[in-house]
């Protein structure tokens, strides 16, 4: 009988089993190493998120130290900031907890000008049709799953492809980035004690039936995630959702400043331990904690929210496209670090403060 032969074959090969002692030691050794690497990453991630979201700039990043190589001028991925000292940090909000395939539905570029006047929050619409490296033209939010893969997504790869897509679209160099899952937003919000948001119109959640009235309110972590997911029923759908995300990020900045998170080492350490494990960050920047320790402040932490100017699809077009007149001008201003001038000339395209 083949079944009996099988059983016998298995039993006969049991002596092949090696001893467990050395294996167990090897497992422990590897686990210690990986845990240490993971911690370093998480701490770096939190620091970066704070830098990005809090918009506290990094003027002491010493562009003259070593200086970027000449090739870095071609949208190079230099580890150092541009000689001008402007910084661009990419924040990706993905629609899920990162364990299943997810799209990056919030794509936010935090621009910190060289003069450190104030942070700019530029959102790029997820429905924008863009060339994705190696994938043809698709919606911007598809770059993330194309990179990360659809089963067991690798968030860092999703980040990487989105970063390249954004760099090609805007022509700016992305200095660093963070991927925020629902959980990361939740714990970040709760860790700073809730975020104040002033909504221009009422929003009703299609997921939880929660109602966010028009006007100012303070949101806890769960409510924040709920709000950031809503686009159905909003007058301009995902465009309005992008605006809400900018309002939320601005509120988070204000709240963290009020709480003095960056100036109080105890609070900062606490935040690092609570939020750290939920963040995924671009792995290529080493000295984020050092940067954070410099803690230089901007002249104003009041962020300016701007949506990339877009045109609605006409005729047979399937995707949003960039506004043919306004977008090139805006992107040039972004690349040349002249957003201050641009916002002064286009006050209607800027989110209202408070």
């Amino acid at each position: 009988m083949i079944e009996d032969d099988l059983r016998a074959a298995f039993a006969r090969h049991e002596p092949l089993t090696p001893p467990t002692g050395p294996l167990r030691a090897a497992i422990d050794r590897l686990a210690i190493g990986r845990r240490r690497r993971r911690r370093r990453w998480q701490a770096g991630g939190t620091a970066l998120a704070l830098l990005g979201v809090l918009g506290l700039g990094v003027p002491l990043l010493t562009p003259e130290r070593a200086g970027p190589p000449p090739t870095a001028e071609l949208l190079g991925e230099s580890a150092r900031p541009a000689p001008s000292g402007a910084l661009n940090i990419l924040l990706l909000g993905i629609d899920g907890d990162g364990r299943t395939a997810a799209r990056a539905d919030a794509v936010l570029l935090v621009h910190i000008p060289a003069d450190r006047s104030r942070p700019y929050l530029v959102s790029l619409p997820r429905d924008l049709g863009v060339p994705i490296p190696g994938q043809g033209t698709d919606k911007l939010n598809a770059a993330f799953p194309f990179g990360a893969g659809f089963t067991r997504p690798e968030l860092t790869k999703g980040y990487e492809l989105t970063r390249r897509t954004v760099a090609e679209l805007t022509g700016v160099r992305v200095d660093a980035g963070v991927v925020l899952t629902y959980r990361a937003v939740r714990s970040l919000t709760d860790a700073v004690g809730g975020v104040p948001v002033c909504l221009p119109e009422r929003v009703r959640s299609v997921h939880t039936k929660r109602v966010f009235p028009a006007g100012c309110q303070r949101l806890d972590g769960a409510a924040s995630v709920d709000l950031l997911r809503q686009r159905y029923g909003l007058p301009e759908g995902s465009q309005d959702r992008d605006r809400n995300a900018r309002l939320f990020a601005a509120g988070l900045v204000r709240q963290s400043t009020d709480q003095g998170v960056l100036t109080d080492p105890v609070r900062l350490a606490k935040l690092l331990t609570t939020v750290g494990p939920d963040l995924v960050v671009s792995p290529d920047r080493g000295t984020l904690l050092d940067l954070l320790r410099l803690a230089p402040t901007l002249r104003s932490v009041e962020p300016v929210g701007i949506g990339l100017p877009v045109a609605w699809p006409t005729g047979k077009e399937r995707y949003l496209r960039t506004d043919p007149k306004l977008a090139p001008e805006f992107l040039t201003a972004l690349r040349d670090d002249r957003l201050g001038d641009w916002t002064a000339r286009h006050p209607k395209l800027v989110d209202e403060a408070r």
Binding site: L6, F10, R12, H13, E14, T17, L23, I27, L30
Partner: protein, 161 residues
């Protein structure tokens, strides 16, 4: 239960299971090592499962079935044929050949099918549990077992005739 307690009692059976899956002690070590590092790093999640043991076995099985591009598979290809240094397989020459033939036929089966055979005929698990470990329906387990047995039987016939 702590990770240490789990490893004290479960590491040896897992290693034996991995030997049956891979047919090779070195591959088995690599497979168990990779799985157990992840178990240790995610111990809180593992221990929350109804049965941590089954959870870990599922991790290990998935690792074995899925890792087409994984580094340990590449190493496997370079290493060639498994060790044949077995005690007590020399006295009856012909039957020893037969026996080792079964072992080498096993290595030609698709990995999922081999896993079902190991789980049923080595671990003696009920089909429902095998289905749970492989993340498929009970019917799928039965059909892949019968397909695997059919393949082995065909090999038998070929040799005998």
């Amino acid at each position: 239960m702590t990770y240490e307690e789990f490893a004290d009692t479960r590491l040896a059976p897992l290693l034996r299971y991995a030997v049956m899956l891979t047919g090779d002690p070195h591959q088995a070590q690599d497979l168990v090592q990779e799985t157990m590092v992840r178990v240790q790093l995610n111990w809180r999640r593992v221990v929350r499962a109804d049965s941590p043991e089954r959870y870990v076995r599922r991790m290990l099985t998935n690792q074995y079935v899925d890792w087409k591009r994984g580094s340990w598979m590449r190493r496997v290809l370079l290493r060639g044929e498994p060790d044949e240094s077995l005690p007590a397989s020399v006295d009856h020459a012909q039957s020893a050949v037969d026996r080792d033939q079964i072992w080498s036929w096993l290595s030609r089966l698709p990995r999922r099918q081999r896993a079902t055979l190991v789980l049923r005929y080595y671990e003696d698990l009920p089909d429902a549990e095998i289905a749970d470990i492989l993340g498929c329906a009970v019917g799928t387990v039965r059909s892949s077992i019968s397909r695997a047995l059919a393949t082995l039987r065909a090999e038998y016939v070929e040799v005998r005739s």
